[in-house]
Amino acid sequence: MTNHETALAIQEALWVKWRQYAVTAGRVGLGVALLIAWKLGADAAGPLYAADPIKVFQRIVSDTISGSLLRHIYVTLRLAGVGFAIGCTFGVALPFLLRRVPRLTRAVEPYIMASVGVPKYALVPLFILWFGIDDAPKLWLVGLLVFYPIFIAVFAGIRNVDRGLISMARVVGASEAMISREVIWNALLPFFFTALKIALPRALSAAIIGEFLVGNEGLGYMIEYSRQNVDTTGVFTGIVVATVLVLVINAALVRLDRHFNAWRPIDRDMEL
């Protein structure tokens, strides 16, 4: 290598290193700056509008010790989990069932696609009317919000399975059930995982928002109740905990996804 080239290459390597440090430092700095801004904002705006971060932290600690926070978290997670299971089951099962009856599919599909446009949250008062003020309306909400992305993904995935593979399997003598299991399920796995990444955080969000509207337990209830009592610290606490929870689940999902699908060629279009 000529001296000139060596010089350029070393320059390049140093520049990359410097950039990495700068980016990390910038991120840490920005995070710290945001926290400071929060504190200053709280001091300036007064306890009515903005809760002091220190007080929020204290509230989190005290609520955790008293157990009430954990109870709320548990209730919300349980709600999200059950609703997710219901929505997921239907979302996966329905396309497979529809696959066997093409005429039904043709009839039903446009309505399902049209109903995507309905804001499901708006249905909550209706659910309350129908199912009472217990967990039921919230479960319906979560279930519906989970159902749609899963259904669409599985449905599209089944549609896109290579017909050649299915024919081959039939020729070899596989039963319909086996075909469903081997060929189709594996083919739509990546679509399913992408939908999962959307549906799981949605389930949690839906649970929280459902709790805004009905119920007397859970994170959403805690936030709304605090608001009605003008307990700003409580509102902030609830929001912080809810946000952290969702972000943790998101991060865990990303990690799981990477682990299980590491052997698949990554399709950039499916990220985020």
């Binding site: 920005l30 708006a122 805004f212 936030i223 608001r227």
Partner: protein, 245 residues
């Protein structure tokens, strides 16, 4: 279609209009609501919230990646915060905004704006990143400076991506407005839904829901119409005029 209506009517008759408003009743109520202007008033209120929030959140979000194009370090620094913002449940902030801005229109607009912001940001970022370097080189050879590049190459190339983001964000904007109204409001379609439910007036609820669906269609249509106009230069999928002379 007719079958669906028949099923709907059947269910309504079977369960009674307490549970399911009959299609006839809903249509009649909807018509009277439109005529009296009441439904339209509430609908326009919700639409206003959604549109204002959409623009307040969407336009800066679309502009930000352009502004930061020459500063990749800043974009990298912001990235985890943006991802966190995208993943965090913005709708959970609804009570906070109501606390801050009251039950009026501002809290709804704020909620919609922040929801739309993160969605559009990532779409716009993808659009700016999808820059075809050969086009850039070509323009540079012809004497384009940074401003020319941004205006003639980067921006038009990113517009399809930005509109994809708009299309995704639009239902969220209406949904966000409605949700905020459900929690606390005295006007708007969400308020109507809540009111109908509290009065055990299922038909009213159905009417409000039907109006909401209409607005969603309207929103979809608008975004698509604007996109079609701006993106006339895009090849329509399936048609190919390649090859030969």
């Amino acid at each position: 279609m007719v079958v669906m209506l028949a099923i709907w009517q059947g269910l309504s008759a079977a369960f009674g209009t307490y549970w399911i408003g009959s299609p006839w009743g809903v249509a009649a109520r909807l018509a009277s609501g439109v005529v009296s202007g009441e439904t339209l008033r509430h609908a326009s209120y919700t639409l206003l919230e959604a549109t204002a929030g959409f623009l307040i959140g969407g336009l800066p979000a679309a502009a930000l990646p352009f502004a930061l194009r020459r500063l990749p370090i800043v974009t990298a620094i912001l990235d985890p915060f943006m991802v966190a913002g995208y993943g965090a449940p913005k709708l959970a902030l609804a009570p906070l905004f109501i606390l801050w801005f009251g039950i009026g229109i501002e809290s709804k607009i704020a909620l919609v704006a922040i929801t739309v912001f993160f969605i559009v940001y990532f779409s716009a970022l993808a659009g700016v990143r999808a820059l075809d370097s050969r086009l850039v080189q070509m323009a540079q050879v012809m004497g384009a400076d940074e401003r020319d590049l941004a205006r003639h190459i980067v921006f038009p190339g990113a517009v399809p991506y930005i509109f994809a983001g708009f299309r995704i964000a639009m239902p969220y904007s209406i949904g966000g407005a409605v949700i905020a109204e459900l929690i606390s409001a005295n006007r708007g379609l969400g308020y109507l839904v809540q009111l109908g439910a509290m009065n055990f007036d299922t038909t009213a609820v159905f009417v409000a829901l039907a109006a909401t669906i209409c607005i969603v269609f309207l929103g979809n249509w608008s975004v698509n119409a604007v996109e079609r106009r701006l993106l006339r230069w895009r090849p329509r999928p399936g048609l190919d005029v390649q090859g030969g002379s």
